[in-house]
């Protein structure tokens, strides 16, 4: 038989109850851009490529100022001994047919390529995103914009580039103009499709019920979702524009003789391919390294801006 236990009232106290206790979120605070940064620097390879890219861009911007290279001035043109020197200690990349340091010529050319790549991408993206966002939102605009797209996108690019460069004269401004005049519509079309995918999601309907204007909706409800796809597009566009610049310059349609250009370098040095292969391979390698590193960094940044990779 168990002895009956006496339960004293004062043994018990009321437990406190806090109804807000269950509302707390234990997870650390989430910040989008911080997570982007952490995801990006997680891979050593990416960081390495990013450093290579930054060094190349920095070098291309600074070196030409120091060397003062100008394609119209060839100081050693009359000195036979300065021509076609193979890479050595004094001449890192050797010298070319005019006695110029290939090292100086390459970086001056890279500088122009990079400037054109970035400026054109920037203009195309700004115009393309602005037009594409409104295009995707407005059903009325879609009807006639699609016709504009059909016309503009079917203009042969090379033909347009040729006509414009003959009409306006070769140069940096013309080249940027040529690369932007039709390219923005492809960006706009791409953005339009993306906007249409998320336009009718319920949270946009909720914003509409709260009286949010179209522009605010584009800014706060649509574009933040597109950061990742826009980054992917940028990552493809910069190297492709650099490639196009080289191609057009190679064809003689790009930068004139007054500006250093990787494309024209490749085209002039091709004739010395047998005797002095380094003249050909150095600018091509610099171009390839630049394009690849830009592409990889862009791709990795695009991955990092996708919040699904943040976990």
């Amino acid at each position: 038989m168990m002895e009956e236990k006496i339960i004293e009232k004062d043994l018990f106290t009321f437990a406190s109850f806090d109804k807000y206790e269950s509302e707390h979120i234990a997870a650390p605070k989430y910040s989008y851009w911080k997570s982007v940064w952490h995801t990006f620097i997680k891979s050593k390879f990416t960081v390495g490529v990013a450093i290579v890219m930054l060094i190349m861009i920095g070098f291309a911007m600074i070196q030409p100022i120091i060397s003062g290279y100008d394609p119209l001035i060839a100081p050693n043109v009359n000195d036979e001994s300065m021509r076609f020197i193979k890479p050595c200690k004094e001449h890192i990349f050797g010298t070319d047919n005019l006695g110029n340091e290939v090292f100086d010529v390459v970086w001056a050319g890279a500088k122009n390529s990079i400037i054109i790549g970035f400026v054109c991408t920037f203009i195309n993206m700004i115009v393309g995103i602005a037009v594409g966002a409104v295009w995707g939102f407005s059903k009325k605009m879609d009807k006639w914009m699609i016709e504009v797209y059909n016309i503009v996108s079917n203009v042969p690019f090379l033909l347009l580039a040729m006509i414009l460069s003959y009409a306006m004269g070769a140069g940096m401004g013309t080249l940027i103009f040529v690369m932007c005049i039709t390219d923005w519509i492809f960006v706009a079309y791409f953005i339009r499709t993306q906007v249409m995918i998320i336009r009718d999601r319920e949270y946009n309907l909720a914003s509409k019920c709260l009286g949010t204007s179209t522009w605010t909706m584009i800014k706060n409800n649509i574009l933040p979702y597109l950061v990742s796809v826009i980054m992917t597009y940028v990552a493809r566009m910069i190297p492709s524009i650099i490639g196009y610049e080289v191609f057009l310059s190679y064809m003689g349609l790009g930068l004139g003789v007054t500006k250093a250009s990787l494309g024209r370098m490749v085209s002039t040095y091709t004739s010395y391919m047998n005797g002095y292969p380094h003249l050909f391979w150095i600018p091509v390698s610099v171009l390839a390294l630049l394009a690849i590193s830009l592409y990889i960094v862009g791709q990795k940044l695009a991955d990092a801006t996708d919040p699904r990779t943040h976990m």
């Binding site: 109804k19 807000y20 509302e23 707390h24 979120i25 997870a27 605070k29 989430y30 989008y32 999601r201 319920e202 949270y203 309907l205 909720a206 914003s207 509409k208 019920c209 709260l210 009286g211 949010t212 204007s213 605010t216 706060n220 409800n221 933040p224 979702y225």
Partner: protein
């Protein structure tokens, strides 16, 4: 209180809503909807999936245009073309609570932005501190904490997210709320919490709800009056109590027979009634809303009306 003495806040008059299908024939989602909602009540709209409940709710918010008829809010027409100022007025006074709290919040915006979106649009604050205080209060009213402001929607549970959705609607200080199945996407354990919150807010702020649902047990708990909608046609309107006591329309009885019973013994004896529209009067007479008993309306022909009259008399006799 007789319905005639009550103040009508929203009135739906012969509303048709149709959608373009790309063919010549349009898809009619709602046919000749006709009812009044009184100030301060919870009016429920029930029906199966695809019956046009949400379409009608969205027409009130001016998301879906009406193809015929008109919607009157506080004596003013709000359907069709109205001035910008009136449109803004509708937005201020009529708000919506959405079905899926995961889909209806912007995942890339903080709770602070989600809740204050309406304040920004109408500039309903004096300064930044005032806005912040208003958001804090709105969150507090739905049982959330001010510390949640810097969080993102994906960090919250379903019930919390739905309460953020409610806070976002309430901060506009609306008079009328369209609640589109606000609890059907939630876990069963927190449904009551959200319903109680909605009832509490309604009492505090003198709100009127249009509660769209397909779950009759929920509707019985929250609604004052119920309209049953089937294939875009409102078939029966009655007080909540009357509808459950005297379900007349065959579709209503069929719908009621689908409610599961919490008692396993009763549940076993429950029989499904299948609604068969071919058994209705096929004479081709136009159906219209007829008042069977005060406040109890049925969509029927005159022949059916006579049958229903007999049926309700029988039921009244049985139930005393």
């Amino acid at each position: 209180m007789s319905n005639k003495d009550r103040e009508v806040i929203l009135s739906i008059k012969h509303v048709d809503i149709s959608f373009d299908t790309g063919h010549k024939k349009k898809f009619v989602a709602v046919k000749d909807a006709n009812f009044d909602i009184y100030k301060g009540e919870t009016f429920a709209l029930v029906g199966e999936s695809g019956s046009g409940k949400t379409t009608l709710g969205r027409a009130i918010l001016r998301i879906n245009p009406c193809s015929a008829g008109e919607i009157i809010f506080e004596g003013k027409r709000i359907s069709g073309k109205i001035s910008k100022a009136e449109d803004r007025n509708v937005i201020r006074n009529i708000q919506m609570i959405f079905q899926d709290p995961a889909a209806s919040l912007n995942e890339r915006a903080t709770i602070d932005y989600c809740v204050s979106e309406g304040l920004y649009n109408f500039h309903l604050y004096e300064n930044e501190a005032d806005r912040s205080a208003k958001v804090d209060k709105a969150l507090n009213d739905v049982g959330l904490l001010p510390e949640h402001k810097s969080r993102y929607p994906h960090e919250f549970s379903g019930g919390q997210r739905q309460r953020v959705g409610i806070a976002r609607a309430m901060i506009m200080d609306p008079k009328f709320i369209v609640a589109d199945e606000p609890i059907s996407a939630l876990d069963v354990s927190i449904r009551a919490q959200v319903l109680n919150l909605m009832n509490k807010l309604k009492a505090e702020r003198n709100l009127t709800y249009l509660f769209i649902a397909h779950d009759l047990s929920v509707v019985r708990f929250i609604a004052d009056r119920i309209a049953v909608i089937h294939h875009g046609e409102i078939v029966e309107i009655a007080d909540s109590e009357t509808l459950f006591k005297y379900p007349i329309h065959p579709y209503t009885t069929a719908l009621l027979s689908t409610v599961p019973m919490p008692d396993p013994i009763v549940e076993r004896t429950r029989t499904h009634i299948v609604y068969d529209p071919s058994k209705l009067d096929q004479s081709g007479e136009e159906r219209e809303m007829r008042e069977l008993r005060p406040g109890h309306f049925l969509h029927c022909t005159s022949k059916e009306f006579a049958e229903y009259e007999e049926k309700i008399a029988q039921m009244e006799k049985e139930q005393g």
